[in-house]
């Protein structure tokens, strides 16, 4: 019988914090500025410059630590990690090795029906590096230090995950927690959340870990899942062929769906960490921790339970709505305005999700106001507009946050409830479609649908479909 293998995975997750300024200087962190415009002597490592810590970074890190059940380190400090690379102008990165801000936490994940805890070994604060862009024209690299000094937290898990599904569940959990805190937007594609995967395989049932590799350059959940699958296969093939797995860093190429070694064993990492002399220690009091704890928002799990009880919506709806805080906020505000929780939930789950997907947007990008969605629901409920017109109006609300009352008025979209006008159109449709009429009278119920459709078209979608149905039936008796 073929040997059974188990995959053991631990994650290092980097999250860019949503501060306005960098971690050690007052430069903007705004994404997308012209190269090197958000730089100063501190974040470009000029001699004599001194870093001063951004308090908001510490508070975000504490909030994430508390939300992931970590112990906050009461006396913590920064260390220097030394390495030479053009994206790192100081030739060292200010990070935390010996006394990271948070330790010994966990988050609970759910895969299928199984719940499990993924432990967090530690979480530390550090600065991001600059960005290297390859210049095809003269085969050089161009360095932009706008990102240099942007605050990051790195969350290091224990090797507690066993499958790609568990890894994705863990990442989604972290992302939801951090987004709810407003500590980061956690966009994988834009790099505000980045995950390195440490993976080893071992024969099922054995206690000892195999040799692990670290995989970088994973910028979507799909890429992560594929990379885990690929690396799992590669390591098993090596073991089956009697070869050794080499401890190394590998770079995943999602187009080729394969990875290659980035740093060889000979070029062993030696960062010569030492305490950062330019920054003083951080002493965190119980009062400070309590203050941060008291500001924590209601997180997804609690919110989900409350929605089911308070708004009487199904588990499935509640799951989708609470996936993003932005969506949940819109749901609550709109419901408060119109009182129709299930209707609000339907608009968010069906049309909103469809439009987000179509436009390649995230729920965080939603920009319409709860007021306008509430008005739309009221218009539909009152029968002022029918459901197909409502969808059309919703697209306008989604795109431009238009006022539906005004929009419906201006575009003459109100449902025509005038029986006389409807009868005149119906008579014409009946006269023009003798075959469908004969089919219906002959017992083919479906033929009615075609007639309804033609009537709606003739009335430019503004008829009341219920009324059209009823009238048609009466007239065809």
């Amino acid at each position: 019988m073929a040997k059974q293998y188990e995959t053991v995975i631990g994650l290092e997750v980097h999250v860019e914090l949503a501060t306005k300024t960098k971690i050690f200087c007052s430069c903007s962190t705004e994404f997308g500025g012209a190269p090197n415009t958000h730089t100063c002597p501190v974040c470009t490592g000029m001699p004599g410059s001194l870093p001063v810590l951004n308090k908001q970074v510490v508070e975000y890190a504490m909030a994430i630590g508390l939300a992931t059940n970590c112990d906050i380190t009461k006396v913590c400090k920064f260390d220097r990690k030394n390495y030479f690379y053009p994206d790192n102008p100081q030739n060292y990165q200010i990070s935390q090795l010996y006394l990271p801000i948070a330790r010994n936490g966990y988050v609970e994940i759910e895969v299928g029906d199984t719940k499990k805890k993924v432990r967090i070994h530690e979480m530390h604060m550090e600065e991001d590096a600059g960005k290297l862009i390859h210049d095809e024209w003269d085969d050089t690299s161009l360095v932009d230090y706008n990102r240099s000094g942007v605050p990051l937290v790195e969350i290091v898990s224990e090797p507690d995950m066993r499958s790609a599904d568990e890894v994705i569940a863990y990442l989604e959990k972290l992302r939801t927690i951090i987004q709810y805190l407003g500590a980061s937007d956690c966009k994988l594609q834009e790099g505000s959340m980045r995950a390195d995967v440490n993976l080893s395989v071992r024969e099922a049932g054995t206690k000892e870990f195999g040799t692990r590799t670290e995989m970088k350059n994973l910028n979507s959940f799909k890429a992560i899942a594929r990379a885990i699958e690929g690396e799992h296969e590669r390591q098993i093939e090596l073991i089956e062929a009697g070869k050794m797995v080499v401890q190394e860093t590998r770079r995943w190429d999602d187009n080729k769906e394969s990875s290659h070694a980035m740093r060889s064993k000979e070029d062993a990492q030696d960062y010569r960490y030492f305490p950062e002399p330019d920054l003083v220690p951080i002493v965190i009091s119980d009062e400070w921790i309590d203050k941060i704890r008291s500001r924590q928002p209601e997180f997804r799990d609690e919110k989900l339970e409350r929605y089911k009880k308070e708004f009487d919506i199904p588990q499935y709806d509640a799951e989708i709505i609470t996936e993003s805080k932005q969506m949940a906020d819109i749901f609550e505000k709109t419901t408060a305005l119109c009182g129709k929780s299930k209707k609000v939930s339907n608009w968010l789950m069906v049309e909103t999700m469809r439009l987000l997907k179509e436009k390649g947007m995230e729920p965080e990008d939603i920009s319409f106001s709860p007021e306008n969605l509430a008005k739309l629901i009221q218009l539909t409920e009152a029968g002022t507009i029918n459901s197909s017109v409502a969808k059309e109006v919703f697209e306008q609300i989604f795109d431009k946050d238009v006022d539906p009352d005004q929009y419906v008025e201006e575009h003459g979209l109100k449902t025509v409830n005038d029986e006389g006008a409807l009868e005149a159109v119906l008579e014409k449709i009946i006269a023009e479609n003798p075959q469908a009429v004969a089919d219906y009278r002959g017992g083919k119920e479906k033929a009615l649908g075609a007639l309804v459709g033609q009537t709606m078209k003739a009335m430019k979608g503004k008829a009341n479909p219920g009324m059209v149905n009823q009238k048609l039936k009466e007239m065809l008796k």
Partner: protein
């Protein structure tokens, strides 16, 4: 008690520091490093049992800055001494991340 720095160590330190040392420079560096380590050994003569390791020499902690953007466009100063530049960026030999 004299510390000894081996040829391998000085070679390795040279690689880490991205320094190319000649034979004589290596010998000089070895002697310097041995002296430094001997000096540090003085500390081992002290009894540090039960003493909390110190992370900083100043009796100061919690020096923070509020999260307010103060700096404007610093690109001109940042790039002023760049040996090579292009498109408002530092131009360096091809480096793959």
């Amino acid at each position: 008690m004299a510390n000894k720095i081996s040829d391998e160590t000085i070679e390795y330190v040279g690689i880490l520091a991205k320094l190319e040392l000649s034979g004589q420079e290596k010998e000089d560096a070895k002697a310097d490093m041995e002296k430094m380590l001997d000096y540090i050994d003085t500390l081992n003569e002290l009894d540090t049992e039960g003493i909390e390791p110190m992370s900083h020499v100043f009796p100061v902690h919690n020096v923070f800055r509020e999260d307010v953007v103060v700096n404007g466009d610093g690109s001109e100063d940042t790039l002023a001494n760049a040996p090579l530049k292009k498109d408002q960026s530092f131009k360096v030999p091809k480096t793959i991340g």
